[in-house]
Symmetry: C2
Subunit: 412 residues, 2 copies
C-alpha cells in the first residue's frame, strides 16, 4: 500500500458527469490498495467567468481580492468531487488550500509554496479517507488567501506528493502523454514512455502546456516521479523521473517549437561592462521576458544586442527601450517579425557534441535559414522564418529518428 | 464617528450593477464619518444553483461538503464588493467567515456562533478600511468551515455589531421596513417606525421573512439597535430596539398571519403525568415542529390533545404518531386541513388584559369561528378557516386602528 497523489485539471472536472468520472478513477486507486490525495482545479471555464465578472467592476482589480474571488472555483470542485466519491461508497473529505496546510509567501496571484503542514492530510488518510484538495491556492501564516499563479494546481499536487513522500504523482490531463513533437502538426509524432525532469522542462511547450515547468522543477528537487496521462482514456501515459534507463540511447528526445517569435536588435550600444545587465534589467523590471540573446561586437566602442521576444510583447518591448534611450545610450532599434523557434531536446546531447552540427546540417539541407542560435546542455534552439517552422520540425523529427520505437520500449 | 454594520442580502447583491449600488451605500456611511463593516450574502440565485449541482451528484449530500460548497457563494460577493468599493476610491478588504474570526460550534449546516475574535476586524477598521465580511459562515476552532443555517447572514451582521460594540446594525433588504401587517394583503398596512425586539420576534413572519428571529434574539441579548430598510429606495426603515417610546401608547402593533395550517387531534390518550411530554418529545425527535397546543380533558382516564402543524408536515406527523401508537396508547387521530393562523402582536398587551377579549369580539362580529387559541404576553393567536383569514386581518387591523398614524410619529 502506497500514497498516490492525483491531479485533475479544469477540463477533467468540467461537468458533473466528468466529476463522476474522476470519482471512478480515484476509486480505482483505492481498490488497488492505495491511500489517495486528489488535487483539482476549478471547473472548466469557472475561472474565466469570475475574471469576467471582476472585469465588469474594475479594469485593474486588486490582486488580493482576485485571489479571494478565484479560490472559490477550486472550492466548488473539491466539495462536488467529495460528494461524488462518497456517492460511490468511499469516504472522502475536502480541504481548501489553507485547510490542507499549504503555506505560501505573502504575495498575491503568484505566491510560492513555503511549507506544507501535513498533520491534517495524514490524519485524514489514516482514517481511511480519500482527501480532496483545492489546487492553485494556499494561505500565508497570517491567514491571507493566496494563489500560486499559472500551473498552480500542478505545483500543489507535486508539493503535496513531496511532503507526504508519496510513491507517485499522476497528472491527469486532456492529452495522453508527452510526445516527441506536437502530434497536431506531425502525425508521426510518438508518445514517449518516459523523459527526465530536465527534458520535460525543455519540452514544456509540447502538447499544449501539459505540465507546468514549476511543477517539474518541484518534482525534480524532490525526486518525485510524475506520470502525465489522459483523464478520458485508460492508457499508460508518460513517466517523468530522474533515470530514463529505457530510452537513454536516444540522443534527441523531442522537438519543441513555437511561432509568434520576434527578433529585436538594439544597435549602437556602448560596449561597456554593464550594457547587457542594464538593458535586460530594464526589460525585466517592466515584466518583459526575452528568450534567446545574442551579442555581436561591431567595433571597439559600440555593440549590437539581438534578442527574441514573443510577438505579443513586441510593442511594449520597443516602447520600454525607447523610453529608456537616454540611459541605455543606443542608436536605433531594428525588429523582425514572423519568426519561429525550433528546438531539439535530449539529455543525451551533453555527451554528443556533434548534435548541434547535425541539426544545422539538416536545416541547411532543407534550405532553412537559421537566424539565431542558442544552446544549453540538453537543448539546441534555432530561430527560423515562421513559414519554415513545420518543415524544420518534420525534417528534424525524421533525421533524429523520433518516430522509430526503440527495441526495449513497449508499445501501448 | 461610530461603527456601523450593514448587511445586504442576496437580492441586493444579485448583479454587478447592484453590487456597485451597494458600494455607493457603503461609501455614504464612510463620507458621514463612520467606520463600516459590510456583511453580504451570496449573489441572487448562486446558492440555489450550487444546491442544484450537488443534487445532480447526491440525493443526500454530506452536510460538511455542502458547507464547503455553499460558502463559496459569499466569498465571491465579498471579493466583488471590495473591488467595487476600491473602484470608487475607498479602501476595502474582504474576509471570509473564518478570516473574520467568526468561531462556531462544530456542527455543519446549522452552527451557532460561539465567539468572534475581532483583532483582524478592528485592525483593518483602524487602518481606514471598509471591511467586507462573508455572511452565513464561520469556522470551528479546528478550522472546519461551517454555515449558520437560515437567516445566517443576518446573524453574522448582528454578531459582528455586538462584538465590535457598533452604534448600529442596518439590515438592507427588498422591503422598506416592518409593517403593521402584510401590505400585499391589506393596502392600509402601515410601515412601523420602530418596534421592540420581542414584537419583532412575534411579527417575524410579516414582510416575507424580513429579518430572521435568530438575529433578533442576538440583537436583543446585546441591546444592539437594528434598522430594517430598503437597499433600493432611500427612505427611513423600521428601527428595532428595546425602548419604543414613540409608539408605546399603541397596544397592538401588528397583525401576523399565515395559511398552510393544519390541526391534528390525538384522541383517547391516557390522562397521565407524562402524556404531553411523551407525545411532543416523539414528534420533536423526528424533526416535527408543532405550534399551538391545546389539551382538553374528556373524562377521568383519557384526554384529547390538539395541536397545529404546518400543512407540509401533516403526513409525517400522522406517520410518526401511528408508528408510535403502542407507546403513546391513543385511540385515533383526527385532522382538519385548510386552516390559517391570525395573531395580534404588541408589547402593550401585558398591561391590557382586555385585548384578547376585544380580538375575539371583533372576530365574532365578523362571523369568524375561532378553532384554537394561544396567548403569550405580547401575542394572541387564533386558528381560523383559511377562507376567513384575510377578512380577519382586515377586521383586526381596522379595529385596533393600525392604519392611523400616531400624533407623535413622523410620516416618511
Amino acid at each position: 500500500m502506497g500514497i498516490i497523489v492525483q491531479k485533475f485539471g479544469g477540463t477533467s472536472v468540467g461537468s458533473v458527469e466528468r466529476i463522476m468520472n474522476v470519482a471512478n478513477r480515484v476509486s480505482q486507486e483505492v481498490l488497488a490498495g492505495n491511500q489517495v490525495v486528489v488535487v483539482v482545479s476549478a471547473m472548466g471555464k469557472t475561472t474565466d467567468e469570475l475574471v469576467r465578472l471582476a472585469g465588469e467592476i474594475s479594469s485593474n482589480p486588486s490582486k488580493r481580492e482576485m485571489d479571494m474571488l478565484l479560490t472559490t472555483g477550486e472550492q466548488v470542485t473539491i466539495a462536488l468531487l467529495s460528494l461524488a466519491i462518497k456517492e460511490k461508497g468511499y469516504d472522502a473529505i475536502s480541504y481548501t488550500g489553507w485547510q490542507a496546510g499549504i503555506q505560501t509567501e505573502a504575495i498575491h496571484s503568484n505566491a510560492r509554496i513555503t511549507n506544507i503542514e501535513t498533520t491534517k492530510l495524514k490524519a485524514s488518510l489514516d482514517e481511511g479517507k480519500i482527501v480532496v484538495v483545492a489546487g492553485f491556492q494556499g494561505a500565508t501564516v497570517d491567514g491571507e488567501i493566496t494563489t500560486l499563479g499559472r500551473g498552480g494546481s500542478d505545483t500543489t499536487a507535486v508539493a503535496i506528493a513531496a511532503a507526504l513522500q508519496a510513491d507517485k504523482c499522476d497528472i491527469y490531463t486532456d492529452v495522453t502523454g508527452v510526445f516527441t513533437t506536437d502530434p497536431r502538426y506531425l502525425n508521426t509524432a510518438r508518445k514517449l514512455h518516459s523523459v527526465s525532469y530536465d527534458e520535460m522542462l525543455e519540452l514544456a511547450n509540447l502538447g499544449a502546456g501539459v505540465l507546468h515547468p514549476r511543477a517539474v522543477e518541484f518534482a525534480k528537487n524532490y525526486s518525485m516521479p510524475l506520470e502525465v496521462r489522459s483523464s478520458m482514456e485508460n492508457e499508460r501515459g508518460t513517466i517523468i523521473e530522474e533515470e530514463v534507463s529505457m530510452e537513454k540511447n536516444l540522443v534527441v528526445r523531442g522537438i519543441a517549437f513555437e511561432d509568434q517569435v520576434t527578433r529585436v536588435t538594439v544597435c549602437g550600444l556602448p560596449n561597456g561592462l554593464r550594457t547587457l545587465s542594464t538593458i535586460f534589467t530594464t526589460l525585466a523590471s517592466n515584466g518583459l521576458n526575452v528568450d534567446i540573446i545574442i551579442q555581436g561586437t561591431t567595433d571597439q566602442d559600440t555593440t549590437n544586442i539581438s534578442f527574441s521576444v514573443k510577438t505579443a510583447d513586441l510593442n511594449d518591448t520597443v516602447r520600454v527601450l525607447e523610453e529608456n534611450q537616454d540611459a541605455l545610450k543606443f542608436d536605433r532599434i531594428e525588429k523582425e517579425d514572423g519568426l519561429a523557434k525550433v528546438s531539439i531536446v535530449g539529455s543525451g546531447m551533453i555527451s554528443n557534441p556533434g548534435v548541434a552540427a547535425e541539426m544545422f546540417k539538416v536545416l541547411a539541407d532543407h534550405d532553412i535559414h537559421v537566424k539565431m542560435v542558442s544552446t544549453s546542455e540538453i537543448k539546441v534552439s534555432t530561430v527560423v522564418e515562421k513559414g519554415s517552422m513545420v518543415k524544420a520540425v518534420e525534417a528534424l523529427h525524421d533525421a533524429f529518428q523520433l518516430s522509430v520505437v526503440e527495441n526495449n520500449e513497449v508499445t501501448v
